[in-house]
């Protein structure tokens, strides 16, 4: 029963989105209602499934031998699927308003909704092959979204995105093959499936392949040096940048790495090896690199994109600690960062949508003209910096705690990187806030007389995100407790 429901939840948005494209939809409103209902229905279905708790694996297709397409819900799926199921309906609401005046609305919603299903597929994959399959699919369904505006820039960006993603998948694929060959199965089992008898003395080669696969999946998670697609993909409409390039797509990469590390290779095998050092070093470099680029960048969305790069590596850093606490830190940051970043992106998107301004130096004095939007932006900025009382602090707290508990020098260096990055985060986020609220004395408000605050469809989702950020910040115990259980493999 739950197997069918799982398949249903995945297929509902994928197949349900087809009518968006098939019909002409003279009445745009009807289409919007249809899309929203579709997304909400899928979310409710997912919610129901998740509340039922972990499910048995459900095999859909068998390719050859033990290569199957299989779905199941375990702790990790619950976190990821739950996260996107909450975010998607709100993001969709926002995009109705955002896309109102954009061309090619239908194709946008077609792929936007499809992506939902595919991401759910990644979340609920029961084995590595299924995940790989949806992972590739995710690339394909999101390319049209990057291309949406069809400018030369957008096309270049989508090409780059495609090359990077497929290329990354090619390396991840090698990891998949090794699990097929050296694993006892390809299912996700907490603690890993490597068959040490089969592995024998080939430890080093397996570690090398792990690094390959980590980097391969890391491409989507914008790991340095494979990150340059992400800022460029910012040409997409903001709902895409916000939901996909700050949450769904990039976190799929991080999610895949969690699966790979904790559920396929297993931390027993990886912990304390040179492979761990390599990947951890990469994440640390990315953390600092992303932030410093964000500070230099003056285009708002690209700045946030660089910030995403850095924050994703927070997650990966947690994962690379190879302890349950590290995974928990990673999961927490994955969840909290999703809300924070989508909030800040939506704010920036609202500015772009209302005024067409894209650069940091163009938003002087906006704090007064768009009070709702900038209040939300300020909250997200503070949360991203990790001010206590906001969501971002909690996740950093767990990440750093996990890192220090390992007692490894490299992990401590990682904590230092987190803090440096926090400072840089403060710099690139707060300069925006300060500009918006405290324009220079000679600033003339008449110049932005016509600027209006965002419409309800835009700020209501923002309000929701802000509430969540604050709630997570001050009362995170239930959620962190749950994540702790998940990370320890007890759920």
């Amino acid at each position: 029963m739950s197997g069918i429901l799982m398949l249903g939840a995945i297929l509902l948005p994928i197949l349900g989105s087809i009518p968006i494209f098939l019909f002409k939809w003279q009445n745009r409103k009807a289409m919007r209602i249809y899309v929203e209902l579709l997304v909400c229905a899928a979310s409710l279905l997912v919610g129901y499934l998740l509340l039922r708790g972990p499910s048995a694996p459900f095999t859909v297709v068998t390719f050859t031998g033990n290569l199957t397409v299989e779905f199941k819900i375990d702790g990790l799926s619950t976190v990821f699927a739950g996260m996107i199921a909450v975010l998607w309906p709100f993001a969709t609401l926002y995009s109705f308003e955002y896309m109102r005046n954009e061309p090619r609305e239908r194709s946008f919603f077609l792929f936007y909704t499809m992506t939902y299903g595919v991401t759910l597929g990644i979340a609920m994959s029961g084995n590595l092959l299924t995940m790989y399959f949806f992972y590739e699919l995710l690339t394909l369904v999101t390319v049209p979204l990057v291309m949406q505006t069809l400018t030369r820039e957008a096309i270049l960006a989508s090409r780059k995105y495609l090359y990077y993603s497929l290329g990354g998948a090619a390396f991840a694929f090698i990891g998949l093959v090794f699990i097929i060959v050296y694993g006892s199965s390809i299912d996700f089992v907490y603690g890993g499936v490597l068959d040490l008898v089969k592995v024998g003395s080939r430890t080093n080669i397996l570690l090398l392949i792990y690094v390959f696969a980590f980097c391969g999946f890391g491409v989507k998670a914008a790991l340095c040096p494979f990150n340059s697609w992400l800022p460029q993909a910012g040409v997409a409409p903001t709902p895409v940048t916000a939901l996909l390039h700050a949450v769904a797509v990039v976190k799929s990469g991080a999610f895949a790495i969690m699966r790979l590390t904790y559920y396929s290779y297993g931390t027993e095998f990886l912990k304390g090896t040179w492979a761990q050092d390599v990947v951890m070093t990469l994440t640390i470099i990315t953390i600092v690199y992303g932030c410093s680029r964000a500070v230099k960048e003056t285009h708002l969305k690209r700045r946030l994109a660089y910030s995403t790069i850095s924050n994703l590596s927070y997650i990966l850093f947690g994962v690379s600690l190879m302890t349950p606490a590290g995974l928990m830190g990673g999961l927490t940051h994955m969840l909290f960062h999703a809300f924070i970043k989508i909030c800040s992106f939506f704010c920036v998107g609202a500015v772009m949508h209302e005024t067409g301004r894209n650069y940091v130096h163009e938003i002087d004095g906006f704090g007064r003209k768009m009070p709702k939007v900038f209040a939300c932006f300020t909250v997200s900025a503070l949360a991203l910096m990790g001010v206590p009382g906001m969501a971002g602090f909690i996740s950093k707290w767990y990440l750093a705690g996990a890192a220090i508990s390992t007692g490894e020098p490299l992990a401590c260096a990682g904590v230092a990187a987190l803090l440096i990055s926090a400072l840089l985060t403060a710099i690139y986020m707060l300069t925006i806030v300060v500009r918006a609220y405290f324009p220079p004395r000679e600033f003339d408000y008449a110049a932005i007389e016509q600027v209006r605050d965002a419409k309800p469809l835009m700020w209501l989702p923002l309000l929701f995100f802000v509430i969540v950020i604050l709630l997570f910040g001050v009362a995170s115990r239930p959620i962190t407790g749950f994540l702790g259980e998940v990370a320890a493999g007890r759920y």
């Binding site: 001010v387 206590p388 909690i394 750093a400 705690g401 508990s405 007692g407 405290f438 324009p439």
Partner: protein, 494 residues
Amino acid sequence: MIFTAILIPVLAGLILLLGPEWKNRKQLCGFTDAALLLSFLAVCVALGTTKENEAVTLFNLTTGLPIFFKIDGVSRFFAVLTGILWVPAGIYAFGYMEHEWKEKRYYGFYLLSYAVLTGLDFSGNLITFYLFYESMSLLTLPLVLHNGSKEAIMAGLKYLFFSLAGAYMVLFGLFLLNRFGNTLTFTAGGVLDAALLEGREGLLLAGAFLMILGFGVKAGMFPLHAWLPAAHPVAPAPASGVLSGMIAKCGVLGVIRTVFYLFGADFLRGTWVQQVWLVLSLTTVLLGSMMAYREKGLKKRLAYSTVSQVSYILFGLATLQWEGFTGAFLHTAAHALMKCGLFLVAGAIIFKTGKTKVEELSGIGRQMPVTMICYTLLSLSLIGIPPFGGFVSKWFLGRGGVNSGLPVFDILGPAVLLVSALLTAGYLLPISIRGFLGGEESVVRPEKKEPSFLMLAPIVLFTVLVTVLGICPDKVIGYITEIAKVLIKEGMTG
């Protein structure tokens, strides 16, 4: 009660910030004034009613991370000092801000900052402290960049980012302490767990050093002092006053909490951390004084002076010895009053004459006699001449240095303090001298430009307080010694 003390200024501040413009300036000032006094009253009530070391938990951030308040001796000392500074400076602002813009915003953030400082003083554990510390950086930013010039905004950002950099250094130590300590609650004598600590002393010392350095940013300690001379002078004078007087002391409070309540003085005594800390504070003392000596702008000169003077306090703490400790506390109080007063004087001069450069001030004493007399007295105190507060504190600081039993520093420390005192005299007194004696002889009856009562009263009040502190410091010294007894076991003979 503690919540109320924090909540009152928060609410009042929010009303001001989010509410509509006030038509009547008097009402605005009256409201702010009432809110300030009420808040201070609430703080006093809280101090009176709350038992020593009674923990009041607000909520839990996450497992093992409670936000809670606790009142101990140090809290009392700082809470009272904050109130004594904040209320008069607020009243002064009613006069001063008349020629500034966006008063409402200023008062709003001023009240919010007060709330945050109160929270900071009452914080019962490091995480609460950190929460308020970071909020303080954020909420005092609007005070710094208030006048909205390019220069002010840049200085404000510089202030913010230096502060945050410091905060993140603290956070590193926080992470370490969370791992290697029993608790994050401030406990006299430290929280380190010897069993967990085994073999990790190096890391912990590094953490402690980073925390001292991090809090040192707010206190303007070399090498992260560069923001202070930029940020303090650009703010409106009353804001400069409290920034130098109180906000910088929050760094000191942080250091006190770190050293004596988390790591424990014994853990740091004789380590490289103490040595480096001493070197840094002494460097800052000297460097600040010299820079102040060279500086031409009055407010900027005072700001450099702050750099130097706050490091006196840090030096006192760094001796890890009870006399130094007492001196540090005394100097915290004395310097807060003196420097705030001096900045208010500078503000009054700017307000009345528009002059900002030192060389323009010839003959000012004849125009503003009361103000300049206060200035002179405060200067004398700052130099360390009896019978003012500054003398008592420096006396203890010097004794702390001499009796610290540290090689080299027991001579070097007091020597540096003395040299710096000379320099202090060199950069403060010429203003008085020229103010009263210089200027064009032809002006026989200069036009009186004394500021209004609202502005003058706080200046006089601070001067009086400093004098009182200098004449009968016994109560305060006794109070501090009680605290020191618990914290520093070694050398407590007197």
